[in-house]
């Protein structure tokens, strides 16, 4: 809006350059500066808060500033949970998180992208399509615990997967599929229709057009959206607790049907223990979770820069 105003102002000043008082212009410039300062303040405030929180967590986990105990040790990665803080580690939770998230990607990504392609390129614009579209948008806003309840009944009980990694990953996949669909559709829609027309003009079929023209052009946006959706799933606790992911798991899963735990559950459990040292362990867990999350987000940025095309 301000950009439009500025344009308008420019056009006016060209025409009525002489009539306008320069004091008025100064006042406008001043107002513009106020907005800039406010914007800066908002950014600094938001990022500053985040920085303080992260530094606090880093300090609690490693004792790097206040000279406390360093909890982010090799034992932390290589030990299972224990009632003694010095022996407790997050091995089961770290592996559980990595397994679950990998499976979630494998389930959700193909499904979400395929649905987006269908809705954008194939579906006729009728009441059924509109119904599906509305429902997908609504699903993207449903609280995650609802997916947990759904997963508990469908995957844990009906399919008899038990409280397994498979059931957990399927539940998380349900959670992120609507977000992937919405993001992928945006990206597919951004492909100029002139490219499609050109493809058709060369005699390509609809599928050939999708495969050789639309997907290559939109893959950057699709990957970014999907990875961001998955990084949301990493931090989810509620649906996994609902389907019955366990808290104390002193072993690594051997197959898809084994019980598991994930980092958010482990962190939550540690914060509620009586001994204060477990809070430091929780901070260490938060750091590991943050690292996994930021790595995945960095991958998203890399892929976007690599494959995104501009027109």
């Amino acid at each position: 809006m301000s950009a439009q105003e500025q344009l308008g102002v420019k056009a006016q000043t060209v025409e009525t350059n002489v009539d306008r008082g320069s004091g008025n212009l100064k006042w406008r410039h001043f107002k513009g500066k106020i907005l800039t300062v406010l914007g800066w303040f908002s950014i600094v405030f938001g990022l500053g808060m985040l920085l303080v929180l992260i530094l606090d967590v880093v300090n609690k986990a490693t004792g790097i500033f206040s000279g406390g105990t360093n909890w982010l040790t090799w034992e932390f990665f290589n030990n299972f949970d224990s009632r003694f803080p010095a022996r407790a580690g997050a091995k089961a939770a770290i592996y559980g998180t990595l397994y679950t998230i990998t499976l979630t990607i494998l389930f959700a990504f193909p499904l979400g992208v395929a649905a987006a392609i269908y809705l954008e390129e194939y579906a006729k614009d009728n009441w059924f399509t509109r119904l599906v579209e509305i429902n997908i948008s609504n699903l993207a806003a449903v609280p995650s615990i609802i997916y947990g309840l759904l997963g508990l009944q469908v995957f844990v009980r009906w399919f008899a997967f038990g409280r397994s990694i498979l059931a957990g990953a399927l539940t998380l996949a349900l959670l992120v599929v609507p977000i992937i669909i919405v993001a992928s559709r945006e990206s597919i829609r951004a492909v100029p229709s002139s490219l499609r027309q050109a493809s058709y003009a060369l005699g390509a079929t609809r599928w050939q057009t999708v495969w050789h023209v639309v997907l290559p052009q939109s893959i950057g946006g699709i990957l970014t959206g999907s990875i961001l959706a998955v990084s949301r799933a990493i931090g989810e606790t509620a649906p996994l607790i609902t389907i019955g992911a366990l808290t104390f798991v002193p072993f690594l899963p051997r197959n898809l049907f084994d019980v598991f735990t994930v980092l958010p559950i482990q962190i939550f459990n540690w914060t509620s223990r009586p001994n204060d040292d477990f809070r430091a362990l929780a901070a260490a867990g938060i750091l590991v979770l943050l690292t996994i999350l930021l790595t995945i987000n960095a991958l998203a940025i890399y892929l976007r820069n690599r494959y995104q095309k501009r027109y």
């Binding site: 299972f80 949970d81 224990s82 009632r83 003694f84 499976l103 990607i105 494998l106 389930f107 990504f109 193909p110 992208v113 008899a160 997967f161 038990g162 409280r163 397994s164 498979l166 997907l215 290559p216 893959i219 019955g244 992911a245 366990l246 808290t247 104390f248 798991v249 002193p250 072993f251 197959n255 898809l256 049907f257 084994d258 019980v259 459990n269 914060t271 509620s272 223990r273 009586p274 001994n275 204060d276 809070r279 690599r306 494959y307």
Partner: protein, 371 residues
């Protein structure tokens, strides 16, 4: 260059499409033996029990090491520290037995247990009639085993110099539903208490601790005023009381041991004088009415499996029960005599509960000593 990258991406996408299908197909075959733990466990139990007859006591180390199987435990967050510690120690003795413990609350645990989804259910109160019926409807039978005492501790700020002891009547005055919005000052509790605002903190309404406290103090489970700061996380209550001179809260005794100096436990007068919570007073039953027994419930079919027998016998053996009173667990152990009787109760497969609904407060465990 670009073409290569494209092919690579498509290859990945195709793999992403195919792998779930393969996983699903492979999974279908595997699902039969391992998907639901209950039938799977039974399947493994059958051949194992023929080669090694179920031992009545903790088997020797060599035998423990050869055991394998999964034990699925869920239920109360209060019992969690005891059973997780037992699982931790047991896994060192029997590395091939995989014991996992979840937290669903006592009620949530019984729902899964009576659905046949878990082998052992942790409970911070005895099973209720409605839960008994749910179990019966699904043909689930169980062995009820008390495992430790927990003392609910009423705590105040260490700088609070006017409270050292409270009667049950005074606690009721603070917490009863009618107190809501009315009792807001310490001087309303007892003549002589200072004119200071009263800040109350306690566990949320889903917790078994809340159920027990209200039952013991108000005489009716879940009867409590609503205008107190509720949290499912006991550390929130701890921090709240540690930071406010006028605050009063309650939680398990384990938090008092681990945080000595940060909060001050209040002695409770249940009609026979003031008694402070301690390992002794909780164990010998003088700290009434706020001490309670904790239970585990073992499913009858699960109790036929050698790895479950070994685990339960380990839990009630002398080696582990000596650990229960250490600060890392923080509960109060039962007498040796009781543990022996309870282990016998398990090994004799005595089914059913010994506690009727309504008997929970002031429950003594003499009845588990045998006839």
């Amino acid at each position: 260059m670009v073409g290569n990258a494209k092919r690579w991406i498509y290859g990945l996408m195709l793999m992403a499409l195919l792998i779930p299908m393969i996983a699903a197909c492979g999974g279908q075959q595997q699902a039969q033996p391992t998907a639901t733990t209950a039938p799977a466990a039974q399947a493994t139990a059958a051949p194992a029990s023929t080669e090694a007859a179920p031992a009545p006591t903790t088997p020797p180390a060599s035998e423990l090491a050869s055991l394998r199987g999964d034990i699925l435990i869920d239920g109360s967050s209060t019992v969690f520290p005891v059973i997780a510690a037992a699982a931790e120690e047991f896994s060192a003795l029997a590395p091939n037995v995989r014991v996992s413990v979840g937290i669903s609350g006592t009620g949530g645990g019984f729902k899964k247990f009576c659905n046949g989804e878990t082998d052992i259910s942790n409970a911070s109160r005895p099973i209720r009639t409605s839960e008994l019926e749910a179990c019966k409807a699904n043909g689930i039978e169980f062995i009820e085993l008390p495992i430790a005492y927990d003392g609910l501790s009423v705590v105040v700020n260490p700088q609070n110099d006017w409270v050292t002891c409270l009667t049950v009547e005074e606690l009721k005055k603070m917490w009863e539903p009618d107190a809501q919005g009315v009792v807001t000052n310490w001087n309303q509790i007892r003549d002589g208490f200072p004119n200071r605002p009263l800040t109350l903190l306690g566990p949320g309404t889903d917790s078994g601790t809340f159920d027990y406290f209200t039952e013991a103090i108000m005489g009716k489970a879940k009867a409590s005023r609503g205008d107190f700061q509720a949290s499912e996380d006991d550390n929130v209550i701890l921090i709240g009381v540690a930071g406010d001179v006028n605050a009063l809260g309650y939680f398990g005794y384990a938090y008092v041991i681990e945080n000595q100096g940060r909060v001050k436990p209040v002695a409770i007068d249940g009609g026979k004088g003031c008694v402070e919570p301690s390992f002794e007073t909780i164990a010998n039953g003088t700290y009434t009415p706020l001490s309670r027994p904790l239970f585990i419930y073992v499913r009858k079919e699960a109790a036929e499996r050698p790895e479950v027998q070994a685990f339960v016998n380990y839990v009630f053996g002398e080696e582990f029960t000596a650990e229960i009173q250490t600060p890392e667990i923080g509960y109060v152990a039962l007498s040796k005599e009781l543990y022996a009787a309870i282990a016998k109760r398990f090994n004799d497969r005595v089914l059913g509960t010994l506690v009727k609904e309504g008997e929970e407060v002031g429950l003594t465990l003499d009845r588990y000593l045998g006839k």
